[in-house]
Amino acid sequence: MATRILTLIAFLLALALTPLPAVAQEDFAAQINALGPGSFADRTKAMDVLVATGDERVPPVLQALSDGNLYIRESDGKVVIASKAAGGLQLTDPVDGADLGVLPSGELEKIKTNNGLRGKIRTAIGKLTLLSPDQPTRLSAAQSVLKNADPAMLELLDQAISAEADPGIKSTMQMARALIVLKTDAALEDKRAAVDLVVAQNNRAAQTVLRNTLDTAPDELKPTIAAGIDSIGRTLAVWDVGQNLLYGISLSSVLLLAAIGLAITFGVMGVINMAHGEMVMLGAYTTYVTQLVIQSVAPGLMEYSLAFAVPAAFLITALVGIGIERGIIRWLYGRPLETLLATWGLSLVLQQLVRTIFGPTNKLVQPPQWMSGTFELWNLSFTWNRLWIIVFAIAVFIALQIILNRTPLGLQMRAVTQNRRMASAMGIRTPFVDAMTFGLGSGIAGMAGVALSQIDNVSPNLGQGYIIDSFMVVVFGGVGNLWGTLIGAVSLGVANKFLEPYAGAVLAKIAILILIILFIQRRPRGLFALKGRAIES
């Protein structure tokens, strides 16, 4: 996180500094124009001056010079980069990248190079990029060295490796170095050390490098390399399991968020709410509306819009939920199948309502900076939004446990669900508690909608995609127990992601559905079944 903020600051600084003063601009143009006239010695001197500036515009110019694409415009002596085009050469200004039009090749003079100069250019480019202060530039330079494995770069690479601080780039550089060493006629011992170094990297890129060198390597080293490929393969298999586990946990968190509100309404109250998915959808639309409002009122807060969207979504969906409970569901207590049908009808109405108000197309919810992008940890890659959703799901789960077990409302909820008439006799307002419980379940669905708006399309159909999965989680975990929901979500999510590599996404889903159907046969009341006579309704 901290590095991300630093990168962001560095990026903003770079943006602020980009419009260079005009004087520096002119100096740079003069330095580039100095490449044109004179002897090879003059050119080398001009090149050294350019390299000394460390400007990021220099490498393309030098590359053009090396490739023979750098020309002098005869009319004013300006040095330009040229590429072939119809009717002559297409010119580009090396200073600002501006298009200078097409000129017939007769009006241009090619800047000559020789082999000595080309060698120097290569080193200069390598130095500029491999030793550049800019991290992405270094990485791409190291990768290009790894791809070309040019022996001339060896010395520079050694220099860069000793200066490099970033472990990822350093490992790429070391692999490039090893690859170069294997190509040259260095001593066998050096080569063996190089192979060992690559094997020690122990990642997918190292495995690829070893595979590529296997054919050309000296026979003595072949067994070492083959063993290295195998050992990396074994490590990678372990990492794959880890990656699948991570994907599975990510899916589990989504399932948990979608299902946990249902676990309240279905599990605790025994109400089948088929409009649960629509509560999720309403939460996602609340996120969208919140962003619209913030955009127009206080654009500076866009980065933190989710902090406003979460409570807003909770309140709105909780109110809608209370309205549903008071308006429809309370007339249907004790008739679960009728509740199912009425709430299904309600879900159709809500979908159509949202479609009428917002239109049928997907709405764009802006992800904040701190939730976009990916990061790598060891050999695992992960996206930030998925990680935040996992954190959010755990937070919601803990908050819900606290509400149910540590607050007066939670106590009343449990009392009413255990024995409605007794609770009523003890002075608990059961209709109020019913409404609050349903509101809580719906509000949590709305908060789930805020999270899902970050990874799914915000459309009127958003909720439909989750309703069957959520029911599967709750039914699998067993009703009346939030831990069952948690374990249900985690096992279904992880099982799904572990089946996917073997069976494909759709077949994995079908397999999970069939497994749940079979599981229900064995344990008709789910993983954490309630015991006793109460369940035999």
């Binding site: 004790g334 446990q401 079908i510 559905l513 079979l518 035999e536």
Partner: protein, 391 residues
Amino acid sequence: MITQMLFRALDRKAIWLVVALVFIAVAIPVANLAIPEGNPLHLPNYMVPLLGKYLNYALLALALDLVWGYCGILSLGHAAFFALGAYAMGMYLMRQIGARGVYANPVLPDFMVFLNYQDLPWFWHGFDLWWFAFLMVLFVPGLLAFAFGWFAFRSRVTGVYLSIITQAMTYALLLAFFRNDLGLGGNNGLTDFKDILGFNVQAATTRAGLFAASALALALAVIICSAIVNSKLGKVMVAVRDGESRTRFLGWRPENVKLFAFVVSAVLAGIAGALYTPQVGIINPGEFDPANSIEAVIWVAVGGRGTLIGPIIGAVLVNAGKSVFTGAFPDFWLYCLGGLFIFVTLFMPKGIVGLFQKLKPRKGKEASSAAEAGEDPSTLPQPKPVPEPAE
């Protein structure tokens, strides 16, 4: 004594229903084919398959009513049985195309040529014979229902749990049928039909014939269902619906009764699907959508469950309403359908038929109270499930 009288009365109703359906089976084709155009009694060509479709839906609703209204099993997966029957018929119709397809392959249907199949998949064999295909229309949904019901009822999965896993079943089938490598046309499904039993599917006479077949199939289903619900078995079914544990304690086997009703219902739904395919001209995996199953439930609820005529009235009315509304105000239909779900469950628990029963002068107080007790479990006081608190 009183219940016997009631059932006899219901039987008479069923006979009237059958007579009416047979009359429709004759009248509609006559109105379409024999009465010349311009006559006010003439039925335009496009109406015939549309009405036929309503009757297929009515058959599906009747099948659902047999399990839900009489046996208390709310299946949210009957679209699966309907679609399986429809696919079996679709496979027969695909084989009848023969070499007339776009790729003119005498054996392989177009989509298989397109997907580079070399041979016919094993389960496509035999579907060129009409009797085999028609047998499969009955057999495939029946077998699925048997396997599913065997496990589910034996392990006493009831109520909402059963509803949810039937929904999971049709959802799994939906996903499976969307796959191209299943060999059933993927998401395009089966279409471009040419002949059925040697007659052109597009011809007005064939369509009239298919309509008559739909009406007669519905009439036959009414007779079968009436026979079942009026038998001793039917009474046990109602007993299972109203008090499964008590029925079990009396020595009956509720799981066998439920299994029987479920399989018969699935077969009826399969027949409805098989008649649906040639009239609509296409069958695709969308028919497996769980939403379709739930929509079928509302037809039954609107018409009145636990009666034979109710689901038929409900299916025809709701679908006619759908045709009118989606044409006139397309944005408004979902409001109507959703509102219908809520309105019917809140205010018309016995559907339209229940409304008429209320309007009719009552013969005697005892008779009506007996009818209510026997027909609507929802009015019975049901103990609320009492789950333990969340730990």
